[in-house]
Symmetry: C2
Subunit: 640 residues, 2 copies
């Protein structure tokens, strides 16, 4: 009985061949042939029948329109393309999964060129049955790889992808992702070539940020990022110790670190003393980080390892970056000395070899020793920043697992609150819903008449805002249904009459419930929040700056529910206007603890409501002079 | 008589050696030795004497602390470091100048590895005499190079650097720059290692943007950017025609193009028809850009060149990007076919070879043919965007040269207006100064008494603003010296009295000239503008969004004077809040023509005033409902 059927016939003959394989009890098939969902309606129908066959028979089908699967561990090529000579290289420790076949084959070649190599490479093609997430799930627990890399056009099952990412955090195996179809035009291109609809990039990126996926901005970055991840060492903090054989190289590293929020901190006293011993007389005053070791490293290649050992022992240093111009045999000796010291620590040690072919001996030694090696200081620092995010996501993951906030009681409360909000909730309903679930909401009264309105305003305290209240009027301002800064009972009476009059004329068929009266909130800073349901990844909690910031800048941060306090801090610092939340320009300094409480409740609501609630808009979420946030206006979107 | 002295003695013996060389009439020296400005006060003094010797003798001195000069054209190594075997490679067409020696040697090695190569490599070290700009000036007119690349820590003579960039635009030879010390911490590092104070990065970047310098964000990017520039073909517009042998590669290119403001436009009808001829039956309906030529390019390598020829003939296409998985002999044949067609056009043709070693034969053929080759679609598109900016800067340069706006009369008018503003100009003086030079300024009256203020307000029309007027009070609001939205004569009278009272108490020693009365300008959008004098590059004209945008976001664009209308458009689109200037969110749509006129006048003022004026702050520059801008408040900073 064959284990695998490799199908390379014209499209029309693929299904009969698969049917026969299934009948024979073959457990898996790879369909190389194209002419399916990527080629019109007839092809799409053929692909649907293929999916049905896989489901019915239990046979795993990879493809169609897949370039194949390459197993470098056992040296089994299952592809039609020219590719690596499998006998020429040992397998690497990075597994590659790709929804683009051509890119995968080329990338695998580059992985081997770089001395990193690949364990398995799986092209999932049109994904009639086997998806990229299926392949990644298998590879997560496979012992042949230390890091996974994926070229992804569309995630078909968001929740499973996120579960996979969480699993990878638990076991400490990083995922590197390059997203095709990040832009509107780019995703159109993706659609045309594999018949997939590209997912919204913003949501994908939010998932990556929360779950520590290392996103490669360029294809070229995947190799170095994957090699960094495969070393499986995580920085405990932002401090990089830099040893450099080129002053310019040190400056390039410090620049990139500063740009990415990492630090190159001062060494501790013990390190300073030890490092002074390596310097020739006339420079002995200038020990600092980066440590410029040009002369010593050239004279005596063994000093490189000794210097790195000093840095690794410094508590201010979370990771070490060695920048080596690299040259011939001396470079190799430096690499050997370095690798010895690296084995004695679990801090990340990254190496930059500035030269190319001149530095081959050292480069090959470092790669063979499993040390992440880069061609430029900037790229090394970018990778360190990525690992730092992965490490933070791991800690957060542990915290989240230990702290389940969702319980049956909450489900019940959300369901009850949703029920009382009704199928077409007004602003009043939305605010009551949020208040019932523990979110601070500005007080309000529903006034049925001008007299009512005057009384309500007096109870609430002046100045007040009046807004028309009707499930039939979505755009209150446009309907003449809003009056702000109303200062007296008399004014409130007149304003109410006017609003009802305006609204009645603007929307003659609307049912007017009355006018909502609420105190004006003095606020120098307005946020927006809420959540929306991403079609792929589910509920995404939103935080942004209100008004012009959200509308003209699109300055909004997303994170998938469930959220942690650290997620909220990340969201806030991701905003371009982040300085405003910290009290810049006389704005009130936002109480981040309270803001986090509010966003975590929104996250819980989203999860507890499930399909019953499509989203919530809070706009504005005002920041009071005390720094506390409070909901001023909100909309609720029940499932339609 | 030796042409050159190469000095490699300990620091203390360098000066005597140089003196002897000068005495002998040697015309140039390279000082490799370190121990000068980078090593404390004694070293700095030695370096000052070296500079003096060079000046007095006329001998050109490169260094000290230079790693040397490598002349690959004539195969003369003038360095102590291990480096390329000069007999092994032909010289390349890119000249390299660096203020960091270590990075230069390593980078040169990578240039040769990539098949691009280097003509000359000059490390200027501490620049006691010969600067990077000196070297670049020489290389600009040298016939051995088609592009220049510079690793720069500090530009010592901004105006000469800008003149060099303009010269490079005139002759069509691009400059690629990597800046060390972009950040505060990074520039500290630079200072420590070559004794140079890093220039402000923001001003440097503004110069690059205006003058078409291709800035490399990472060291790694320099090679591909330089090779692109050395092809000396400039795109006439943003439209890229993409031919791809990998659907995923096409999507990656389209994504990057969309992110960088380039387009991948629809092909013209003639192209569509011609391209259909290359497709097999079942895909004949789907001819689009990117053109997916996977099957054809594999079957018949000669089709690649033919397809590219079709695209090159399409008027919608300004440049062509060929994405080739690349593989062995077929890849080489595709490259040969392509190069033939490229010779028939002057449009830029860029090639992406996705594979590494598997694609060597094609890669080597393309590099030998002078075609820019990339490892990823994203990087190729970035380089095309850079060339597009260079091309736009060239056109602008030609326009600027044909349109000199500065004349003797303006000098006179600026000098006269400056004279009447006096040595400590107030807001009133600053606004009068700007008005005299043709910039629209809000009307105002200087009122000496409450009665005066009421009369002035009535003349100007309500509502008005009142501000204390005193050369001794810089912070008017803090001194209780501002009242806005004053609606009646009576209110104006009271406000004036109050302001004089407040200011008198807040600043008892200040001379109070009175109160400035001006009409309130209703404005939904406030800008800031003006200019400041950068210590290196001279006057930089400023445009930003007012208030919170400038303060919390630092959202400000700079350009060196003289400005063109296109510079102003670039500045506006560089702002994060650019959408607001285009009328987003109900903001008035800014009249860009009038805004450009205002900024061009500011540019002329800055140049005409020269050292007499340090800067002008206009804050706010209000946008009226008509879209016209008007100065509401301004400060003038005469030379101190």
């Amino acid at each position: 009985m064959p284990d695998l059927a490799l199908i390379v016939t014209p499209a029309a003959r693929v299904l009969p061949a698969l049917e026969e394989a299934a009948r024979l009890g073959v457990s898996a098939a790879i369909v190389i042939s194209s002419g399916f969902a990527e080629a019109g309606a007839e092809g799409a129908a053929r692909q649907a029948r293929m999916a049905e066959l896989a489901r019915a028979s239990g046979m795993i089908v990879c493809g169609p329109n897949s370039i194949g699967v390459l197993n470098y561990v056992d040296r089994i090529p299952m592809s039609f393309t020219s590719s690596e000579d499998m006998d020429r290289h040992p397998a690497g420790r990075v597994a590659l999964v790709s929804q683009s076949g051509g890119l995968m084959i080329s990338l695998a070649n580059r992985f081997f060129d770089a001395g990193v190599g690949v364990s398995y490479a799986v092209a999932t093609g049109n994904e009639a049955d086997l998806t990229a997430v299926d392949a990644l799930e298998y590879l997560a627990d496979d012992g042949s790889s230390d890091a996974l890399a994926v070229l992804v056009e569309e995630v078909r099952d968001g929740p499973r992808f996120m579960a996979l990412c969480r699993r990878l955090l638990d076991i400490g195996k990083p995922l590197i992702a390059y997203k095709l179809g990040r832009t509107e035009p780019g995703s159109g291109t993706v659609r045309s070539h594999t018949g997939a609809l590209a997912g919204a990039y913003q949501a994908f990126r939010a998932v990556c940020r929360q779950l520590g996926v290392l996103e490669a901005v360029d294809l070229d970055d995947m190799i170095d990022l994957a090699a960094s991840g495969a070393a499986r060492r995580w920085p405990r903090g932002p401090g990089i110790g830099v040893v450099t054989g080129s002053g310019g190289g040190g400056a390039a590293a410090v620049d990139r670190a500063a740009e990415l929020g990492l630090t190159v901190p001062a060494f501790g006293e013990a390190s300073l003393q030890a490092l002074r011993g390596f310097l020739p007389g006339f420079t002995a005053g200038t020990v600092e980080n980066p440590f410029d070791a040009t002369a010593q490293m050239i004279e005596d290649p063994t000093t490189a390892g000794k210097i790195v050992a000093v840095l690794l022992g410094d508590p201010a240093i979370d990771s070490v970056l060695m920048i080596d111009p690299g040259s011939g045999e001396r470079g190799r000796l430096r690499a050997v000395g370095l690798l010895e010291r690296v084995r004695e620590t679990d801090k990340p040690v990254f190496h930059v070899v500035l030269s190319g072919s001149l530095a081959r001996p050292g480069y090959a030694t470092l790669r063979a020793g499993g040390l992440p090696v880069f061609g430029s200081p900037g790229k090394a620092v970018e990778a360190l920043a990525g690992l730092g995010r992965f490490a933070r996501a791991r800690e957060r993951r542990a915290a989240r697992a230990a702290n389940p906030t969702l319980d049956a009681e909450l489900h019940l409360r959300v369901a009850r609150a949703l029920g009382s909000a009704g199928p077409r909730p007004t602003e009043h309903d939305a605010k009551r819903f949020l208040a019932e679930l523990g979110i601070p909401v500005v007080a309000d009264r529903l006034a049925r008449s001008p007299e009512d309105a005057a009384r309500a305003a007096q109870e609430l305290g002046f100045p007040v805002a009046l807004k028309v209240h009707s499930a039939d009027i979505a755009h209150k301002t446009e309907a003449g249904g809003v009056r702000l800064d109303v200062a007296t009972a008399d004014e409130a009476r007149h304003a109410c009459a006017e609003i009802l009059d305006n609204a009645g004329r603007a929307a003659p068929k609307a049912t007017l419930d009355g006018v909502l009266v609420s105190p004006m909130i003095a606020s120098a800073l307005e946020l927006i929040s809420g959540f929306h349901t991403d079609p792929c990844f589910g509920p995404m909690v939103v935080l942004g700056l209100g008004g012009v910031w959200a509308e003209a800048l699109g300055d909004v941060a997303l994170r998938p529910a469930p959220l942690t306090v650290e997620d909220v801090a990340d969201m806030a610092s991701e905003l371009r206007g982040a300085a405003l939340l910290r009290g810049a320009r006389g704005a009130p300094k936002v109480d981040m603890e309270q803001l986090a409480r509010v966003l975590l409740i929104l996250s819980d609501i989203a999860l507890a409501a499930g399909a019953g609630l499509q989203g919530i808009d809070i706009n504005p979420l005002a920041v009071r002079p005390s720094g506390h946030v409070i909901v001023v206006d909100a909309s609720l979107y029940p499932a339609s």
